[in-house]
Protein backbone atom coordinates (compact mmCIF):
# COMPACT_ATOMS: atom_id res chain seq x y z
CA UNK A 1 0.00 0.00 0.00
CA UNK A 2 2.91 2.31 0.79
CA UNK A 3 4.57 1.66 -2.56
CA UNK A 4 1.24 2.08 -4.32
CA UNK A 5 0.85 5.47 -2.66
CA UNK A 6 4.37 6.41 -3.72
CA UNK A 7 3.63 5.41 -7.30
CA UNK A 8 0.40 7.39 -7.12
CA UNK A 9 2.52 10.46 -6.44
CA UNK A 10 2.20 10.99 -2.70
CA UNK A 11 4.44 13.94 -1.82
CA UNK A 12 4.39 13.78 1.96
CA UNK A 13 3.75 11.17 4.63
CA UNK A 14 3.45 11.83 8.37
CA UNK A 15 2.80 8.99 10.77
CA UNK A 16 3.40 7.33 14.10
CA UNK A 17 4.28 3.68 14.75
CA UNK A 18 1.43 1.39 15.74
CA UNK A 19 0.94 -2.30 15.06
CA UNK A 20 -0.34 -3.67 12.68
CA UNK A 21 0.48 -0.89 10.20
CA UNK A 22 4.07 0.02 11.14
CA UNK A 23 5.43 -1.67 7.99
CA UNK A 24 3.73 1.03 5.98
CA UNK A 25 5.48 3.77 7.97
CA UNK A 26 8.82 1.94 7.70
CA UNK A 27 8.50 1.60 3.93
CA UNK A 28 7.78 5.30 3.69
CA UNK A 29 10.76 6.07 5.95
CA UNK A 30 13.09 4.34 3.50
CA UNK A 31 11.48 5.26 0.19
CA UNK A 32 10.27 8.84 0.52
CA UNK A 33 13.66 10.43 1.29
CA UNK A 34 15.39 8.53 -1.51
CA UNK A 35 12.80 10.01 -3.90
CA UNK A 36 13.30 13.48 -2.44
CA UNK A 37 9.84 13.49 -0.89
CA UNK A 38 8.73 14.24 2.67
CA UNK A 39 8.66 11.61 5.40
CA UNK A 40 8.39 12.55 9.05
CA UNK A 41 7.73 10.43 12.09
CA UNK A 42 5.57 12.58 14.33
CA UNK A 43 5.56 12.59 18.13
CA UNK A 44 1.97 11.31 18.23
CA UNK A 45 -0.96 10.54 15.99
CA UNK A 46 -2.39 13.90 17.06
CA UNK A 47 0.65 15.67 15.66
CA UNK A 48 0.82 13.40 12.60
CA UNK A 49 -2.68 14.23 11.40
CA UNK A 50 -2.11 17.93 12.01
CA UNK A 51 1.10 17.78 9.98
CA UNK A 52 -0.98 16.14 7.26
CA UNK A 53 -3.51 18.96 7.69
CA UNK A 54 -0.82 21.60 7.15
CA UNK A 55 0.76 19.80 4.20
CA UNK A 56 -2.66 19.29 2.59
CA UNK A 57 -3.20 23.06 2.74
CA UNK A 58 -0.38 23.41 0.20
CA UNK A 59 -2.35 21.31 -2.29
CA UNK A 60 0.21 18.48 -2.15
CA UNK A 61 -0.77 14.79 -2.21
CA UNK A 62 -0.48 13.77 1.44
CA UNK A 63 -1.40 10.83 3.61
CA UNK A 64 -1.01 9.12 6.93
CA UNK A 65 -1.69 5.65 8.20
CA UNK A 66 -2.49 4.24 11.59
CA UNK A 67 -4.46 1.60 13.42
CA UNK A 68 -7.59 1.86 15.54
CA UNK A 69 -6.35 3.52 18.79
CA UNK A 70 -4.15 5.84 16.74
CA UNK A 71 -7.04 6.72 14.46
CA UNK A 72 -9.10 7.58 17.54
CA UNK A 73 -6.42 10.15 18.40
CA UNK A 74 -6.62 11.58 14.89
CA UNK A 75 -10.35 12.21 14.95
CA UNK A 76 -10.13 15.89 15.86
CA UNK A 77 -7.69 16.63 13.05
CA UNK A 78 -9.73 14.60 10.57
CA UNK A 79 -12.78 16.68 11.34
CA UNK A 80 -10.80 19.90 10.78
CA UNK A 81 -9.54 18.51 7.47
CA UNK A 82 -13.12 17.73 6.45
CA UNK A 83 -14.26 21.19 7.57
CA UNK A 84 -11.49 22.84 5.56
CA UNK A 85 -12.42 20.68 2.53
CA UNK A 86 -8.95 19.29 1.97
CA UNK A 87 -8.00 16.15 0.05
CA UNK A 88 -6.37 13.71 2.48
CA UNK A 89 -5.95 9.93 2.49
CA UNK A 90 -5.79 7.96 5.73
CA UNK A 91 -5.23 4.22 5.96
CA UNK A 92 -6.75 2.56 9.04
CA UNK A 93 -5.47 -0.98 9.53
CA UNK A 94 -8.11 -2.00 12.02
CA UNK A 95 -7.21 -4.07 15.09
CA UNK A 96 -9.15 -5.65 17.94
CA UNK A 97 -10.73 -3.37 20.52
CA UNK A 98 -12.10 -1.40 22.31
CA UNK A 99 -9.29 0.15 24.30
CA UNK A 100 -5.82 -1.15 23.78
CA UNK A 101 -7.45 -4.36 22.57
CA UNK A 102 -4.92 -6.33 20.58
CA UNK A 103 -3.08 -6.30 17.29
CA UNK A 104 -5.17 -8.94 15.52
CA UNK A 105 -7.39 -8.25 12.47
CA UNK A 106 -10.77 -6.66 13.19
CA UNK A 107 -13.49 -4.60 11.57
CA UNK A 108 -14.51 -2.97 14.82
CA UNK A 109 -13.86 0.56 13.50
CA UNK A 110 -16.77 0.47 11.04
CA UNK A 111 -18.79 2.95 13.07
CA UNK A 112 -15.79 5.16 13.86
CA UNK A 113 -14.78 5.42 10.20
CA UNK A 114 -17.95 4.98 8.18
CA UNK A 115 -20.26 6.91 10.48
CA UNK A 116 -17.63 9.12 11.93
CA UNK A 117 -14.37 10.77 11.17
CA UNK A 118 -14.67 12.99 14.25
CA UNK A 119 -17.20 15.62 15.21
CA UNK A 120 -19.44 17.59 12.93
CA UNK A 121 -21.64 17.16 9.92
CA UNK A 122 -19.96 15.52 6.93
CA UNK A 123 -19.49 12.26 5.07
CA UNK A 124 -16.11 10.66 4.35
CA UNK A 125 -15.41 8.30 1.45
CA UNK A 126 -14.52 4.84 2.81
CA UNK A 127 -12.80 2.15 0.73
CA UNK A 128 -12.43 -1.42 2.02
CA UNK A 129 -9.94 -3.71 0.27
CA UNK A 130 -10.17 -7.47 0.75
CA UNK A 131 -6.81 -8.51 -0.69
CA UNK A 132 -3.40 -7.06 -1.49
CA UNK A 133 -4.11 -6.31 -5.13
CA UNK A 134 -7.27 -4.46 -4.21
CA UNK A 135 -5.44 -2.59 -1.46
CA UNK A 136 -2.91 -1.40 -4.04
CA UNK A 137 -5.56 -0.41 -6.56
CA UNK A 138 -7.67 1.40 -3.95
CA UNK A 139 -4.65 3.35 -2.68
CA UNK A 140 -4.20 4.84 -6.15
CA UNK A 141 -7.92 5.50 -6.46
CA UNK A 142 -8.06 7.10 -3.01
CA UNK A 143 -5.84 10.03 -4.01
CA UNK A 144 -7.83 10.67 -7.17
CA UNK A 145 -11.11 10.62 -5.25
CA UNK A 146 -9.71 12.83 -2.49
CA UNK A 147 -8.62 15.47 -4.99
CA UNK A 148 -11.65 15.22 -7.25
CA UNK A 149 -14.04 15.87 -4.37
CA UNK A 150 -11.78 17.78 -1.94
CA UNK A 151 -12.65 15.01 0.45
CA UNK A 152 -11.25 12.87 3.19
CA UNK A 153 -10.78 9.29 1.98
CA UNK A 154 -10.32 6.42 4.41
CA UNK A 155 -8.83 3.16 3.24
CA UNK A 156 -10.16 0.82 5.90
CA UNK A 157 -8.15 -2.37 5.88
CA UNK A 158 -8.27 -4.93 8.65
CA UNK A 159 -5.08 -6.27 10.17
CA UNK A 160 -5.24 -9.27 7.86
CA UNK A 161 -5.08 -7.18 4.69
CA UNK A 162 -2.38 -5.11 6.40
CA UNK A 163 -0.14 -8.09 7.14
CA UNK A 164 -0.79 -10.68 4.44
CA UNK A 165 1.73 -11.42 1.69
CA UNK A 166 0.53 -12.46 -1.76
CA UNK A 167 1.47 -11.78 -5.36
CA UNK A 168 0.19 -8.49 -6.72
CA UNK A 169 0.97 -6.05 -9.49
CA UNK A 170 2.06 -2.54 -8.63
CA UNK A 171 0.77 0.41 -10.65
CA UNK A 172 3.03 2.45 -12.95
CA UNK A 173 4.82 5.47 -11.51
CA UNK A 174 2.82 8.66 -11.87
CA UNK A 175 4.75 11.90 -12.23
CA UNK A 176 4.51 14.24 -9.26
CA UNK A 177 2.11 17.14 -9.53
CA UNK A 178 3.36 20.37 -10.97
CA UNK A 179 0.06 22.25 -10.85
CA UNK A 180 -1.61 23.05 -7.58
CA UNK A 181 -5.26 23.90 -7.02
CA UNK A 182 -6.54 27.47 -6.92
CA UNK A 183 -7.31 27.31 -3.21
CA UNK A 184 -3.83 26.13 -2.12
CA UNK A 185 -1.85 28.09 0.46
CA UNK A 186 1.67 28.35 -0.97
CA UNK A 187 2.51 32.04 -0.50
CA UNK A 188 0.57 34.97 -1.94
CA UNK A 189 3.12 35.99 -4.58
CA UNK A 190 1.39 38.39 -6.99
CA UNK A 191 -2.07 37.47 -5.85
CA UNK A 192 -4.66 38.03 -3.13
CA UNK A 193 -4.15 36.07 0.05
CA UNK A 194 -5.66 32.61 0.55
CA UNK A 195 -7.10 31.55 3.89
CA UNK A 196 -7.81 27.93 4.73
CA UNK A 197 -9.92 27.43 7.81
CA UNK A 198 -12.76 25.31 9.16
CA UNK A 199 -14.28 28.25 11.04
CA UNK A 200 -17.65 29.61 10.00
CA UNK A 201 -18.51 31.66 13.03
CA UNK A 202 -21.92 32.67 11.68
CA UNK A 203 -24.30 29.70 11.72
CA UNK A 204 -25.77 30.76 8.39
CA UNK A 205 -22.29 30.50 6.82
CA UNK A 206 -21.66 27.11 8.40
CA UNK A 207 -25.00 25.92 7.05
CA UNK A 208 -23.99 26.98 3.54
CA UNK A 209 -20.76 25.01 4.02
CA UNK A 210 -22.60 21.97 5.36
CA UNK A 211 -24.91 22.17 2.35
CA UNK A 212 -21.93 22.36 -0.01
CA UNK A 213 -20.46 19.25 1.66
CA UNK A 214 -23.82 17.52 1.34
CA UNK A 215 -24.16 18.38 -2.35
CA UNK A 216 -20.66 17.09 -2.95
CA UNK A 217 -21.58 13.94 -1.08
CA UNK A 218 -24.61 13.40 -3.30
CA UNK A 219 -22.30 13.64 -6.30
CA UNK A 220 -19.98 11.06 -4.71
CA UNK A 221 -22.93 8.77 -4.01
CA UNK A 222 -23.98 9.00 -7.65
CA UNK A 223 -20.53 8.42 -9.12
CA UNK A 224 -18.36 6.42 -6.80
CA UNK A 225 -20.29 3.42 -5.49
CA UNK A 226 -18.20 0.27 -5.82
CA UNK A 227 -19.01 -3.33 -4.93
CA UNK A 228 -18.52 -6.87 -6.26
CA UNK A 229 -21.20 -9.45 -6.92
CA UNK A 230 -20.57 -13.18 -6.95
CA UNK A 231 -23.17 -15.85 -7.92
CA UNK A 232 -26.07 -13.51 -7.20
CA UNK A 233 -28.15 -14.23 -10.32
CA UNK A 234 -30.14 -17.07 -8.83
CA UNK A 235 -29.19 -16.67 -5.17
CA UNK A 236 -31.75 -17.52 -2.53
CA UNK A 237 -29.33 -16.68 0.23
CA UNK A 238 -27.35 -13.47 -0.13
CA UNK A 239 -24.20 -13.12 1.94
CA UNK A 240 -22.86 -9.60 2.52
CA UNK A 241 -19.36 -9.00 3.84
CA UNK A 242 -16.44 -6.62 3.23
CA UNK A 243 -12.67 -6.84 3.58
CA UNK A 244 -11.29 -10.07 4.98
CA UNK A 245 -14.73 -11.17 6.18
CA UNK A 246 -15.94 -10.78 2.59
CA UNK A 247 -12.98 -12.75 1.30
CA UNK A 248 -13.55 -15.66 3.68
CA UNK A 249 -17.26 -15.49 2.93
CA UNK A 250 -16.45 -15.86 -0.77
CA UNK A 251 -14.70 -19.17 -0.08
CA UNK A 252 -17.66 -20.30 2.01
CA UNK A 253 -20.09 -19.33 -0.75
CA UNK A 254 -18.13 -21.36 -3.29
CA UNK A 255 -18.09 -24.35 -0.95
CA UNK A 256 -21.85 -24.02 -0.44
CA UNK A 257 -22.39 -23.78 -4.19
CA UNK A 258 -20.45 -27.05 -4.51
CA UNK A 259 -23.10 -28.56 -2.21
CA UNK A 260 -25.85 -27.26 -4.47
CA UNK A 261 -26.99 -24.35 -2.28
CA UNK A 262 -28.10 -21.30 -4.27
CA UNK A 263 -26.07 -18.70 -2.44
CA UNK A 264 -24.27 -15.57 -3.62
CA UNK A 265 -22.10 -12.80 -2.20
CA UNK A 266 -22.28 -9.04 -2.33
CA UNK A 267 -18.98 -7.51 -1.24
CA UNK A 268 -19.09 -3.72 -0.73
CA UNK A 269 -15.82 -2.06 -1.75
CA UNK A 270 -17.04 1.40 -0.84
CA UNK A 271 -18.50 1.25 2.67
CA UNK A 272 -19.45 4.87 2.15
CA UNK A 273 -21.19 5.30 -0.25
CA UNK A 274 -22.93 2.04 0.67
CA UNK A 275 -24.68 -0.23 -1.88
CA UNK A 276 -28.07 0.24 -0.23
CA UNK A 277 -30.10 0.23 -3.45
CA UNK A 278 -28.45 -3.02 -4.59
CA UNK A 279 -29.18 -4.66 -1.24
CA UNK A 280 -32.78 -3.41 -1.36
CA UNK A 281 -33.15 -4.97 -4.80
CA UNK A 282 -31.65 -8.28 -3.67
CA UNK A 283 -33.96 -8.36 -0.67
CA UNK A 284 -36.97 -8.52 -3.00
CA UNK A 285 -36.01 -11.95 -4.33
CA UNK A 286 -33.77 -13.46 -1.64
CA UNK A 287 -35.09 -15.96 0.86
CA UNK A 288 -32.74 -14.47 3.46
CA UNK A 289 -29.57 -12.40 3.82
CA UNK A 290 -26.53 -13.18 5.93
CA UNK A 291 -24.23 -10.37 7.07
CA UNK A 292 -20.70 -11.51 7.97
CA UNK A 293 -18.36 -9.15 9.81
CA UNK A 294 -15.36 -9.17 12.13
CA UNK A 295 -17.24 -7.16 14.74
CA UNK A 296 -20.50 -7.44 16.65
CA UNK A 297 -22.67 -6.26 13.77
CA UNK A 298 -21.90 -2.71 12.67
CA UNK A 299 -22.46 -2.83 8.90
CA UNK A 300 -25.44 -4.99 9.87
CA UNK A 301 -27.33 -1.78 10.73
CA UNK A 302 -26.81 -0.41 7.22
CA UNK A 303 -27.93 -3.68 5.65
CA UNK A 304 -31.08 -3.74 7.77
CA UNK A 305 -31.83 -0.15 6.78
CA UNK A 306 -31.52 -1.13 3.12
CA UNK A 307 -33.55 -4.32 3.47
CA UNK A 308 -36.25 -2.42 5.36
CA UNK A 309 -37.97 -5.59 6.52
CA UNK A 310 -38.47 -7.03 3.02
CA UNK A 311 -36.46 -10.17 3.78
CA UNK A 312 -35.11 -11.89 6.88
CA UNK A 313 -31.55 -10.95 7.86
CA UNK A 314 -29.16 -13.07 9.89
CA UNK A 315 -25.75 -12.13 11.22
CA UNK A 316 -22.51 -13.97 11.82
CA UNK A 317 -19.51 -12.26 13.35
CA UNK A 318 -16.24 -12.88 15.09
CA UNK A 319 -14.95 -10.20 17.44
CA UNK A 320 -11.89 -9.15 19.34
CA UNK A 321 -9.40 -9.84 16.56
CA UNK A 322 -10.78 -13.27 15.67
CA UNK A 323 -11.14 -14.09 11.97
CA UNK A 324 -13.96 -16.41 10.87
CA UNK A 325 -13.03 -19.69 9.24
CA UNK A 326 -14.63 -20.61 5.95
CA UNK A 327 -16.34 -23.59 7.64
CA UNK A 328 -18.03 -21.39 10.22
CA UNK A 329 -19.64 -19.26 7.51
CA UNK A 330 -20.43 -22.36 5.47
CA UNK A 331 -22.25 -23.82 8.48
CA UNK A 332 -24.33 -20.65 8.72
CA UNK A 333 -25.23 -20.83 5.03
CA UNK A 334 -26.20 -24.51 5.32
CA UNK A 335 -28.28 -23.75 8.40
CA UNK A 336 -30.07 -20.87 6.67
CA UNK A 337 -30.75 -22.98 3.57
CA UNK A 338 -32.49 -25.55 5.71
CA UNK A 339 -34.68 -23.42 7.97
CA UNK A 340 -37.00 -20.44 7.86
CA UNK A 341 -35.37 -17.32 9.20
CA UNK A 342 -37.82 -15.08 11.05
CA UNK A 343 -38.56 -11.70 9.56
CA UNK A 344 -38.98 -10.19 12.99
CA UNK A 345 -36.51 -10.06 15.84
CA UNK A 346 -32.94 -8.88 16.21
CA UNK A 347 -30.37 -10.76 14.11
CA UNK A 348 -27.58 -9.66 16.45
CA UNK A 349 -29.31 -11.20 19.47
CA UNK A 350 -30.09 -14.42 17.58
CA UNK A 351 -26.44 -14.68 16.59
CA UNK A 352 -25.21 -13.99 20.12
CA UNK A 353 -27.43 -16.77 21.48
CA UNK A 354 -26.40 -19.15 18.69
CA UNK A 355 -22.65 -18.74 19.05
CA UNK A 356 -22.58 -18.28 22.79
CA UNK A 357 -18.90 -17.23 22.83
CA UNK A 358 -19.01 -16.27 26.48
CA UNK A 359 -20.16 -19.47 28.12
CA UNK A 360 -18.70 -22.22 26.01
CA UNK A 361 -15.49 -20.58 24.93
CA UNK A 362 -14.54 -20.01 21.33
CA UNK A 363 -15.78 -22.66 18.95
Amino acid sequence: MAEAAIRAGVEAYFGYPITPQTELLEWMAARMPELGRTFLQAESEVAAINMVYGAACTGARVMSSSSSPGVSLMMEGLSYIAGTELPVVLVDVVRGGPGLGNIAPSQGDYYQIVKGGGHGDYFPIVLAPSNVQEAIDLMVLSFDLAEKYRSLVFVMADGNVGQIMEPAELPPFQPLKTQYPDWAVRGAENREKHILSSIYIKPEDEEVTNYRLLERWHEIESNELRYKEYFLDDAEIVVIGFGTAGRVAFSAVRAARAQGIRVGLLRPITLRPFPSAQIAELSKTAKALLVVEMNSGQMLDDVQLAVAGHAPVDFYGRMGGMVPYQDEILAEIVRMAGEDIPLEGDPRRRWAQRVNYGRNGIK
Binding site: T38, V46, A47, G187, I199
Partner: protein, 258 residues
Protein backbone atom coordinates in the same frame (compact mmCIF):
# COMPACT_ATOMS: atom_id res chain seq x y z
CA UNK B 1 3.61 83.99 -1.34
CA UNK B 2 2.37 80.84 0.19
CA UNK B 3 4.82 78.02 0.69
CA UNK B 4 3.90 74.49 1.67
CA UNK B 5 6.02 72.69 4.15
CA UNK B 6 7.40 69.44 2.72
CA UNK B 7 5.46 66.46 4.05
CA UNK B 8 7.15 63.33 5.24
CA UNK B 9 5.16 60.17 5.89
CA UNK B 10 6.30 58.82 9.26
CA UNK B 11 3.65 56.30 10.11
CA UNK B 12 1.24 54.12 8.16
CA UNK B 13 -0.31 50.70 8.24
CA UNK B 14 2.17 48.05 7.13
CA UNK B 15 1.15 46.55 3.78
CA UNK B 16 0.99 43.06 5.26
CA UNK B 17 -1.52 44.22 7.89
CA UNK B 18 -5.08 44.16 6.51
CA UNK B 19 -7.35 47.18 6.68
CA UNK B 20 -9.76 45.18 8.83
CA UNK B 21 -11.30 46.14 12.18
CA UNK B 22 -10.05 43.57 14.65
CA UNK B 23 -11.91 41.78 17.41
CA UNK B 24 -9.48 42.59 20.22
CA UNK B 25 -10.56 44.45 23.36
CA UNK B 26 -9.42 48.05 23.90
CA UNK B 27 -5.96 48.08 25.45
CA UNK B 28 -5.09 44.53 24.47
CA UNK B 29 -1.56 44.19 23.11
CA UNK B 30 -2.45 41.64 20.41
CA UNK B 31 -2.79 44.58 18.04
CA UNK B 32 0.72 45.75 18.86
CA UNK B 33 2.12 42.27 18.33
CA UNK B 34 0.30 41.95 14.99
CA UNK B 35 1.67 45.27 13.86
CA UNK B 36 5.24 44.34 14.81
CA UNK B 37 5.03 41.07 12.85
CA UNK B 38 3.63 42.95 9.84
CA UNK B 39 6.31 45.64 10.02
CA UNK B 40 9.04 43.00 10.12
CA UNK B 41 7.59 41.07 7.17
CA UNK B 42 7.27 44.33 5.21
CA UNK B 43 10.89 45.22 5.94
CA UNK B 44 12.04 41.76 4.88
CA UNK B 45 9.82 42.01 1.77
CA UNK B 46 8.60 38.44 2.09
CA UNK B 47 4.81 38.76 1.81
CA UNK B 48 4.70 36.47 -1.21
CA UNK B 49 6.43 33.61 0.49
CA UNK B 50 5.08 33.85 4.03
CA UNK B 51 2.46 31.50 5.45
CA UNK B 52 0.96 32.09 8.89
CA UNK B 53 -0.73 29.57 11.14
CA UNK B 54 -3.42 30.95 13.45
CA UNK B 55 -4.27 29.32 16.78
CA UNK B 56 -7.43 28.85 18.79
CA UNK B 57 -7.91 31.63 21.30
CA UNK B 58 -8.36 35.39 21.05
CA UNK B 59 -6.14 35.47 17.96
CA UNK B 60 -8.19 32.78 16.21
CA UNK B 61 -9.06 35.35 13.55
CA UNK B 62 -5.45 36.52 13.07
CA UNK B 63 -5.70 35.41 9.43
CA UNK B 64 -8.21 38.23 8.85
CA UNK B 65 -5.80 40.86 10.14
CA UNK B 66 -2.80 39.97 8.00
CA UNK B 67 -2.64 40.25 4.25
CA UNK B 68 -0.83 37.08 3.19
CA UNK B 69 -1.57 33.35 3.07
CA UNK B 70 -2.84 31.91 6.33
CA UNK B 71 -4.26 28.70 7.72
CA UNK B 72 -6.20 28.09 10.91
CA UNK B 73 -5.09 25.26 13.19
CA UNK B 74 -6.88 23.16 15.76
CA UNK B 75 -6.30 24.19 19.39
CA UNK B 76 -2.61 23.71 20.22
CA UNK B 77 -1.69 22.04 16.93
CA UNK B 78 -0.27 25.05 15.09
CA UNK B 79 3.36 23.84 15.34
CA UNK B 80 2.38 20.48 13.80
CA UNK B 81 0.45 22.20 11.03
CA UNK B 82 3.35 24.59 10.43
CA UNK B 83 5.65 21.55 10.29
CA UNK B 84 3.50 19.99 7.57
CA UNK B 85 3.62 23.19 5.51
CA UNK B 86 7.33 23.85 6.03
CA UNK B 87 8.35 20.28 5.17
CA UNK B 88 6.50 20.46 1.86
CA UNK B 89 7.53 24.06 1.11
CA UNK B 90 10.92 24.51 2.81
CA UNK B 91 11.68 27.83 1.11
CA UNK B 92 8.58 29.53 2.51
CA UNK B 93 8.60 31.50 5.76
CA UNK B 94 6.20 29.73 8.09
CA UNK B 95 5.18 31.03 11.48
CA UNK B 96 2.63 30.31 14.17
CA UNK B 97 0.98 32.88 16.37
CA UNK B 98 -0.14 31.29 19.62
CA UNK B 99 -1.38 32.21 23.06
CA UNK B 100 -0.44 30.66 26.37
CA UNK B 101 -3.39 28.29 26.59
CA UNK B 102 -2.90 27.15 23.03
CA UNK B 103 0.86 26.68 23.15
CA UNK B 104 1.76 25.98 26.77
CA UNK B 105 -1.24 23.87 27.75
CA UNK B 106 -3.06 21.86 25.12
CA UNK B 107 -0.27 22.27 22.57
CA UNK B 108 2.65 21.41 24.84
CA UNK B 109 3.50 18.21 22.96
CA UNK B 110 3.51 19.84 19.55
CA UNK B 111 5.62 22.86 20.59
CA UNK B 112 8.25 20.84 22.44
CA UNK B 113 8.71 18.40 19.58
CA UNK B 114 8.77 21.14 16.96
CA UNK B 115 11.63 22.72 18.92
CA UNK B 116 13.27 19.34 19.51
CA UNK B 117 13.28 18.61 15.80
CA UNK B 118 14.78 22.02 15.14
CA UNK B 119 11.77 22.65 12.95
CA UNK B 120 12.69 25.68 10.91
CA UNK B 121 9.64 27.71 11.84
CA UNK B 122 9.04 30.84 13.92
CA UNK B 123 6.63 31.03 16.84
CA UNK B 124 5.17 34.27 18.16
CA UNK B 125 4.02 33.40 21.66
CA UNK B 126 1.59 35.75 23.39
CA UNK B 127 1.80 35.25 27.16
CA UNK B 128 -0.94 37.17 28.95
CA UNK B 129 -1.25 34.74 31.85
CA UNK B 130 -4.90 33.98 31.18
CA UNK B 131 -7.41 32.36 28.81
CA UNK B 132 -8.85 35.40 27.07
CA UNK B 133 -11.37 34.11 24.56
CA UNK B 134 -13.22 31.83 26.96
CA UNK B 135 -13.53 34.62 29.50
CA UNK B 136 -10.57 34.67 31.85
CA UNK B 137 -9.76 31.19 33.14
CA UNK B 138 -6.46 30.09 34.64
CA UNK B 139 -3.71 29.50 32.10
CA UNK B 140 -0.51 27.48 32.51
CA UNK B 141 1.22 30.85 32.77
CA UNK B 142 -1.14 32.36 35.37
CA UNK B 143 0.92 33.78 38.23
CA UNK B 144 0.77 32.24 41.71
CA UNK B 145 -2.03 33.96 43.59
CA UNK B 146 -3.53 35.48 40.43
CA UNK B 147 -7.32 35.47 40.45
CA UNK B 148 -9.08 34.09 37.40
CA UNK B 149 -12.60 32.72 36.90
CA UNK B 150 -11.29 29.19 37.44
CA UNK B 151 -8.97 30.17 40.30
CA UNK B 152 -11.37 32.59 42.02
CA UNK B 153 -9.35 32.79 45.22
CA UNK B 154 -6.07 33.08 43.38
CA UNK B 155 -3.88 30.39 41.82
CA UNK B 156 -3.00 28.05 44.65
CA UNK B 157 0.24 26.34 43.65
CA UNK B 158 -0.49 23.41 45.96
CA UNK B 159 -3.57 22.61 43.89
CA UNK B 160 -2.90 24.09 40.47
CA UNK B 161 0.87 23.94 40.34
CA UNK B 162 3.30 26.52 39.08
CA UNK B 163 3.53 28.72 36.00
CA UNK B 164 5.34 27.28 33.01
CA UNK B 165 8.34 29.18 31.73
CA UNK B 166 8.21 28.49 28.03
CA UNK B 167 11.20 30.54 26.85
CA UNK B 168 13.41 28.82 29.42
CA UNK B 169 11.99 25.39 28.53
CA UNK B 170 12.28 25.77 24.78
CA UNK B 171 15.76 27.27 25.02
CA UNK B 172 16.92 23.93 26.41
CA UNK B 173 15.98 22.11 23.25
CA UNK B 174 18.95 21.42 21.01
CA UNK B 175 16.87 22.23 17.95
CA UNK B 176 16.22 25.80 19.07
CA UNK B 177 18.17 28.50 17.24
CA UNK B 178 16.63 31.61 18.77
CA UNK B 179 14.47 31.79 21.89
CA UNK B 180 13.87 35.07 23.73
CA UNK B 181 11.35 36.79 25.97
CA UNK B 182 10.26 40.37 25.44
CA UNK B 183 7.43 42.54 26.74
CA UNK B 184 4.92 44.90 25.15
CA UNK B 185 4.32 47.13 28.16
CA UNK B 186 6.10 50.31 27.00
CA UNK B 187 7.62 51.85 23.83
CA UNK B 188 11.19 50.84 24.65
CA UNK B 189 10.21 47.22 25.17
CA UNK B 190 8.00 47.27 22.08
CA UNK B 191 11.01 48.35 20.02
CA UNK B 192 13.07 45.57 21.54
CA UNK B 193 10.26 43.13 20.80
CA UNK B 194 10.27 44.16 17.16
CA UNK B 195 14.00 43.55 16.89
CA UNK B 196 13.52 40.13 18.41
CA UNK B 197 10.74 39.26 15.96
CA UNK B 198 12.98 40.35 13.10
CA UNK B 199 15.83 38.25 14.44
CA UNK B 200 13.55 35.23 14.80
CA UNK B 201 12.45 35.45 11.16
CA UNK B 202 16.05 36.01 10.08
CA UNK B 203 16.97 32.85 11.98
CA UNK B 204 14.40 30.98 9.94
CA UNK B 205 15.63 32.44 6.66
CA UNK B 206 19.13 31.31 7.62
CA UNK B 207 17.92 27.80 8.46
CA UNK B 208 19.03 28.02 12.08
CA UNK B 209 16.19 25.89 13.42
CA UNK B 210 13.33 26.64 15.75
CA UNK B 211 12.78 30.27 16.75
CA UNK B 212 10.38 31.65 19.33
CA UNK B 213 9.65 35.11 20.69
CA UNK B 214 7.62 35.15 23.90
CA UNK B 215 5.79 38.44 24.33
CA UNK B 216 4.43 39.42 27.73
CA UNK B 217 1.05 40.90 26.89
CA UNK B 218 -1.86 42.55 28.59
CA UNK B 219 -5.45 41.42 28.98
CA UNK B 220 -7.20 44.38 30.62
CA UNK B 221 -10.67 42.88 30.21
CA UNK B 222 -9.98 39.61 31.98
CA UNK B 223 -7.49 41.02 34.45
CA UNK B 224 -10.13 43.58 35.47
CA UNK B 225 -7.73 46.49 35.00
CA UNK B 226 -7.68 49.61 32.87
CA UNK B 227 -5.42 49.36 29.82
CA UNK B 228 -2.83 51.59 31.52
CA UNK B 229 -2.93 49.67 34.81
CA UNK B 230 -2.66 46.42 32.84
CA UNK B 231 0.63 47.60 31.32
CA UNK B 232 1.85 48.53 34.79
CA UNK B 233 0.85 45.06 36.01
CA UNK B 234 3.06 43.49 33.32
CA UNK B 235 5.97 45.69 34.37
CA UNK B 236 5.55 45.21 38.12
CA UNK B 237 4.27 41.65 38.36
CA UNK B 238 4.77 39.58 35.22
CA UNK B 239 8.35 40.59 34.49
CA UNK B 240 9.35 39.35 37.96
CA UNK B 241 8.01 35.88 37.20
CA UNK B 242 9.00 35.92 33.54
CA UNK B 243 12.38 37.65 33.27
CA UNK B 244 13.01 39.32 29.93
CA UNK B 245 16.08 38.27 28.05
CA UNK B 246 17.77 36.11 25.43
CA UNK B 247 17.55 32.46 26.39
CA UNK B 248 19.07 30.93 23.28
CA UNK B 249 20.78 32.78 20.49
CA UNK B 250 22.55 30.87 17.76
CA UNK B 251 26.09 32.25 17.36
CA UNK B 252 25.26 32.88 13.70
CA UNK B 253 22.83 35.60 14.81
CA UNK B 254 25.20 37.37 17.16
CA UNK B 255 26.27 40.12 14.79
CA UNK B 256 22.93 40.83 13.09
CA UNK B 257 21.95 44.50 13.35
CA UNK B 258 18.68 46.06 12.25
Amino acid sequence: MVTTAPTRLVYQRPTTLSDTPNSYCPGCTHGVAHRLVAEVLDEMDVRGRTIGVAPVGCSVFAYNYFDFDFVEAAHGRAPAMATGIKRVLPDRIVFTYQGDGDMASIGMGEIMHAAGRGENITVIFINNAIYGMTGGQMAPTTLPGQKTTSSPTGRDVEVAGFPLHMAELLSNMEGSGYVVRRSLHDPKNIRLAKKAIRTAFEAQVRGLGFSMVELLSSCPTNWGLTPKDALTWIEERMVLVYPLGDYKVSPSLANLRF
